[in-house]
């Protein structure tokens, strides 16, 4: 059975390199989340997206903004 869905923030990128940069920096700065295949509802450049709970996103939003990452879009959805 498919997993229960919860409110999430999904950050998309235009290149795999940008996604890797996100993962690396989130690791360095202890920002929660992980890379997932881009959900079909989203049109994104790169097939990888960074998924974190909406709650975590709100808590780490300012930290993420300061990282100067090349994020294509941020989508909020049940995932």
């Amino acid at each position: 059975m498919i997993r229960k869905k919860i409110p999430c923030a999904v950050l998309t990128f235009s290149t795999t390199t940008a996604a890797m940069s996100m993962e690396k920096k989130c690791g360095d700065y202890k920002i929660p989340g992980r890379l997932i295949p881009v959900p079909r509802e989203i049109t994104a450049g790169c097939g990888l997206a960074w998924k974190m709970t909406a709650e975590d996103y709100e808590a780490y939003k300012q930290k993420i903004e300061r990282l100067n990452l090349t994020v294509e879009q941020i989508v909020f959805m049940e995932l």
């Binding site: 235009s14 290149t15 795999t16 390199t17 940008a18 996604a19 890797m20 940069s21 993962e23 690396k24 890379l35 997932i36 295949p37 450049g45 790169c46 097939g47 990888l48 090349t70």
Partner: protein, 377 residues
């Protein structure tokens, strides 16, 4: 075998490089083609190499490094990707065919090409570039080190000349990357083309290019990118723009380990060791009757290459004798550098190139000197 053909490829690779390739071949998926761990590990690995390479050349950001097969691919991409019919480009007789042939192709398409000649030492100078500038000069394309003579060119000053005039500066670092300090920002380099298998001590089939922010290069290839699948055009974002198709993840793992090795060992100490071996060899052969050495030895701050001829002997014959009778591997013939050979007057005879690595020993150098002396008798 005594291996003195390190300018062709460094045969002796550090153990961690070999280990990294084997480990990668046992574990990596296809980078950027999935979100499972095997694919993510490949992407992480390649991203890590991008970071190390961009730091090594002092670039601004890992996305400015595109990986290619070798310098030839990088140079083709740079030359065909920035020049348009009607543009003028300045280059030198020192260049390898990986620069000259793409330029001859562009010449047929209407690009004007000025090829700077060298002096008796086989050198070109920054002021030669400045003097060749025309209103339509788009780029300077220059080797950092001659693959034939080992002469090192003052790319820092040429870069300044280029930037002051709004001209693109493309550097072929095939012979110097991994041995000489290269700072793309301080040297005003717009595109740096490098190979992984020479001084960088990585596997063959690895290489790349640094492209400065704001410089657009038209890609040679388009195709699979793992991103923007439904768009008809290949993505324009770096580095994806210049990396169609599956990357050589296994080789790049080795290149990453090689950069770690270089950083740990320090390229200054590597260069000093290589230059000391070169100097010993040069001093040992230069006064042997019948031996003619080519290149600029007024300074020893040069690539660890000594190129020579013995009397009027065919260079190929000398190379064969060196290998068969002494077990010494060198490169003879034309070295893909036709204009440099013509300038030195060696187009017919070719030349015998000895190129050294920090893995060579003084004893090997002495055996090389003795072999040249015997052959010259």
């Amino acid at each position: 075998m005594i291996y003195f053909d390190n300018a062709a490829t460094t045969m002796h690779k550090p153990e961690p490089v070999i280990h990294a390739v084997v480990q990668a071949m046992n574990s990596l998926g296809n980078a950027g083609r999935g979100a499972h761990e095997a694919s993510l590990d490949a992407s992480r690995n390649i991203y890590g190499v991008r970071e190390r390479i961009v730091d090594f050349f002092h670039g601004e950001d890992p996305s400015r490094i595109a990986f290619t097969l070798n310098s030839t691919e990088s140079l083709n991409m740079a030359i065909k990707g920035i020049l348009e019919p009607g543009d003028h480009v300045v280059t030198t007789v020192l260049e390898h065919n990986s620069v000259l042939r793409p330029l001859y192709e562009m010449e047929e398409k209407g690009v004007e090409v000025t090829i700077l000649s060298c002096d008796e030492y086989g050198m070109v100078y920054p002021e030669d570039f400045a003097a060749a500038v025309r209103p339509n000069t788009k780029a300077f394309i220059c080797t950092h080190g001659s693959n034939l003579t080992g002469n090192v060119i003052d790319i820092r000053q040429i870069g300044k000349t280029a930037r002051d005039r709004g001209i693109r500066f493309v550097v072929d670092a095939s012979q110097t990357a991994g041995v000489f300090d290269i700072d793309v920002q301080k040297m005003n380099i717009d595109i740096l083309c490098f190979t992984g298998h020479k001084g960088l001590l990585g596997p063959q089939g690895t290489g790349g290019m640094y492209v400065r922010k704001g410089v657009n290069v038209r890609p040679l290839k388009s195709g699979g990118s793992g991103v923007k699948t439904f768009e008809k055009k290949h993505p324009a974002q770096m580095p994806t723009a210049l990396e169609a198709g599956t990357l050589n993840g296994h080789g790049l793992a080795g290149l990453g380990a090689a950069v770690d090795y270089l950083n740990q060992k320090g390229i200054t100490s590597i260069r000093k060791k290589e230059q000391a071996l070169m100097e010993k060899f040069y001093l040992g052969v230069r006064d042997i009757p019948g031996v003619k050495v080519y290149g600029d030895f007024r300074t020893m701050n040069r690539c660890a290459i000594v190129t020579l001829n013995i009397r009027d002997y065919d260079s190929g014959e000398v190379g064969d004798a060196l290998y068969v009778d002494y077990g010494i591997a060198v490169r003879t013939g034309a070295h893909c550098a036709p204009l440099m050979h013509q300038s030195l007057g060696t187009a017919e005879q070719g030349a015998v190139r000895f190129s050294f690595s920090h893995f060579n020993t003084e004893e090997e150098i002495q055996r090389g000197i003795d072999a040249v002396r015997e052959l010259a008798e």
